[in-house]
Assembly symmetry: C2
Homo-oligomer: 330 residues x 2
Amino acid sequence: MSPFTPVPTESIAHAGEIALVRRLLVALGAAAPAAPEGPGDDCAVLAENPAPGRRLVTTDSVIWGRHFDASVSPEDAGRKLVNRNVSDIAAMGGDPTDAVLALLMGPDVSAAWLEKFMIGVGQACLSQGVKLAGGDLAKMPAGTFAASLSLTGFAEKPMLRTGGRAGDFVYVTGSLGGSILGKHFAFTPRVPEGRFFAAHPAVRAGMDLTDGLGKDLPVLLPPRTAALVDTAALPLSADCLAVATKSGLTAVHHALNDGEDYELLLIVDPAGADGMESDFAKRFPEVRLTRVGRIVPAATGLDQGALYDETGEPLAERGFDHFATDSTGN
Amino acid sequence: MSPFTPVPTESIAHAGEIALVRRLLVALGAAAPAAPEGPGDDCAVLAENPAPGRRLVTTDSVIWGRHFDASVSPEDAGRKLVNRNVSDIAAMGGDPTDAVLALLMGPDVSAAWLEKFMIGVGQACLSQGVKLAGGDLAKMPAGTFAASLSLTGFAEKPMLRTGGRAGDFVYVTGSLGGSILGKHFAFTPRVPEGRFFAAHPAVRAGMDLTDGLGKDLPVLLPPRTAALVDTAALPLSADCLAVATKSGLTAVHHALNDGEDYELLLIVDPAGADGMESDFAKRFPEVRLTRVGRIVPAATGLDQGALYDETGEPLAERGFDHFATDSTGN
């Protein structure tokens, strides 16, 4: 379903700003509290600290033609906007609390399409405990649609990307690759798992997998280290295998490079790794957790910041560069 | 200066994401702290409460072709993005503390232009005490550029839009109209003034003037009231008079409808108004504060939510509708 309408009377330009905002607030339902806690004043007014801990902030966008197309329902696009932000809060071990939404839209965006998008935003907010505290509408050229969400959360002891050491083990939750077949719109952010990892003494660092293990794991490597990836152990999703069958590339290639897994990537102290695994299995019996490699000192044939397979061959494939002209997008 | 370059090697697509982010962080300078307080992790990690009071959040955008064009320097566009958000915090009587920035850009955006834009963002952040805690880059169609900022602040006793009563006086800071000639890029958000009004017992409600007094004042009117505007008292800026000379419309028309004044609009208890005026004059001797009208009960010939001049003639001009197809933009 395209966001745009050729019928002027169905467009947001025709709806008028005040009536449109009213309609969008109805679509959001209970996700948008009344002012001043919600939309309607110059700012939203929130409790200082609705959850214990340090305050976390993140922002992420969805763009028509980039993150979704006409094959995607507006509700799914709206849910994705919320969930990809929530995944960033999950990656710090936090609880998401409240968000503001910037809509940047051509005048030819369909009011009915936008209403459905907001229904998806509202549903995801409600299911993640997020209040939509405020927003802004701004006009862009015809034929364009973008939405940016900024999300706040709180974490008692945030899990950072820094903290890994040579010798540490690398873990991932769930399975990797092939998210293009559906998971990139249908994932559930790993909020409770993130809280578990942030609180566990054996977990030294972590992040969420958005650009693919091949690009994201190097981010967690401390200086003068590389990583050995046990490619045989990579938890390949069924969709990863399906994509590989069609692409002619290996499933391992897809698991390393597909992006948008929205799983958690963890760096774990080897001394506590077995205990962490069993603690995790007790708490999350249905969630896969796989040791996929380890951090090693950089050395001859092991370049700093690079990934290698178990035989020492470089895993040359790189993750997703958001601005590269030759990128295939995600 | 246009954000776009016809020379591929000068574009952000050519720069590569990691190098580009590094360059933008250099441009931001001290405005962007190191991770985890600043950019570099999944979320920024902030103090729960860097200033006393309730937490305020707001979001606002600047869009190429909408809020600025090639006649505007990239530094001014970046400063405007920050300052229009800070004005929303000022309108609640708050202190701005930290922000996240979403950049939505065509691959043909010039890296040098973007660097200058970020220098402007950084300068405005530093001058307003705002830390740029994080951000996101996302790719849009060629020829487009948008930036959304989400800003957090804190206020001990936020000034809301609600609270006005029939009989209350209406005040504005500074002068109105003609901001298109320069003020809409060169304004200083009224942060200390906002704090003064939020703390003053005679001030019942307030907001910042972004869409023009004619559209903004009705927002502050309680149900079953209208407002009488003393059009002879309106503080007309020199630029308002200059614009009126060219447009052939009255200066009052421009003062009511131009938008982007970024002044504060206040609703004040008449019993405390004189005291508030003298308190304000002591604290801000160089800032104009003008009583421009009063709230009256709706009645025959005085429609609820509408504005009238001192003779009871309706001030039919309306402020700025962001999506109206016939709008001239601001």
